[in-house]
Symmetry: C2
Subunit: 300 residues, 2 copies
Amino acid sequence: MSFINEYKQYLDIVEEWLRGVLPPESLSNDDFPEKKIYEAMKYSLMAGGKRIRPVLSLAVCNLLNGDIKEVLPFAGAIELIHTYSLIHDDIPCMDNDDYRRGKPTNHKVFGEAMAVLAGDGLLNLAFEIMLRETIKGDNKNFSRLKTAYMISTSSGVKGMIGGQVIDMESEKTAISYDVLCQMHRKKTGALIRASVLAPAILLDAGKDIVDKLENYAENIGLAFQIKDDILDFEGDSKIVGKSTGSDTVNNKSTFVSILGIEKAKELLRTSVENAVNALNGMNNNNFLAQIAVFIAERDK
Amino acid sequence: MSFINEYKQYLDIVEEWLRGVLPPESLSNDDFPEKKIYEAMKYSLMAGGKRIRPVLSLAVCNLLNGDIKEVLPFAGAIELIHTYSLIHDDIPCMDNDDYRRGKPTNHKVFGEAMAVLAGDGLLNLAFEIMLRETIKGDNKNFSRLKTAYMISTSSGVKGMIGGQVIDMESEKTAISYDVLCQMHRKKTGALIRASVLAPAILLDAGKDIVDKLENYAENIGLAFQIKDDILDFEGDSKIVGKSTGSDTVNNKSTFVSILGIEKAKELLRTSVENAVNALNGMNNNNFLAQIAVFIAERDK
């Protein structure tokens, strides 16, 4: 199967699962006076996107010959956590963004207060779903529990939220290359790592496999972020070229601002190579290797 | 032991546990570039308050002759969830409050963006803690899992967050008595119920005991809210009496606005009686009965 077809196959599974997570739109307001929050949660959850995190989980599950049904609720929970973080990121006191993926941001449609609650609701729902899955009484119970715990530390102050704080603080003062790496390892890396490791923990993979996958995940996380910075730099350059450029100046530390564009591109190539090499010796690793290349070559 | 002394004993245990939840202030900024969020989380977590929720959990634990150490992390997690909900409630796009418990609100001290993240961080940490406890390998594992799941549904869109949404929507249009009750059952009732039921589930109490405790919890939750409305009404009356009163008018539906002050006070008395009666036949129920009375007689 081609890379694109395999990606689409995973994507369809993820989208169908996500559609079923929230109550149907036919709910009556009388029975559910809190209906509005479901609309707000669904609006952002179903707003498209690459779904790279749950797709990674399903691909790793396949690599390990696991059952997609076992992995899907945890892969989906990670996408819920990712979505809540985007909603909160966009509100006026954070990044104050009016559009995301070409659609008005959540607070633009539902108001700021509802956007805060919709984000809270999605984070909470992720844990409800993981706990509900874990409670299902069988011998996979403990693996599920370890997976839910791993995801909780990845999304919390030691992981994603901590990374967001470093990011915010870095807007006040310049940061070192080490702190930049630490920020990204937490802010985006932690959830990507969680997506890759979740199936391995769920399926009780051995330490050797977990180590390889962790190495792979850290390198695609790094590649993802460097590519983001390069895209931003090249996008900004285009805008600067077309306009006076004065309002596009941004002093935020990035891989490009710290390393320069050439070194950043070199580091991107190296991290993709490292990601691919990390999978050496694993059967059926073609799709994951291509994801690493896809991350480095995407144009948005 | 007097009621006040027993309350203080539980309170001290809770405060000590909460103090240990976040990393020490001596952390260096170099090792923890995300240090600021720990300060923000700690600021609100250690800002005092009655700690009625974890105190209820410890008291129920005692009633059931359980081990406080087993119950404490779940009781504490509920307090973390309660604290996050207060931080998010106070931000400008929600209630826009400058003070809570006589201190500047979180966003007043740390800024709005950090307040949003500190709230997110506390919610996430609550689940990290409950999952970490649940993972401890022994035969209490499954009871802990059921408790964590029960708490997750209590704090989510079917519980507390759903109640906040109904509350927000109710500011736009008048609501019926039924919707008012539903709102409070979710907004404050759900976490109070969770505090009372958590020890019972953790300690594998029988259905008869769980039913009695659930009945007790629902009645103190109701009493708590009616008392809040009565205090607000009496506070507003005082302010109106002293000022021109024009900016204190509030058309929000409350137990007082819907039932009138006399009927509200009668319903308060009935719910305290019902709470006390729910404990009939349980040994050592004196403290919990007194908490019901305390809720109805508090002056703030």
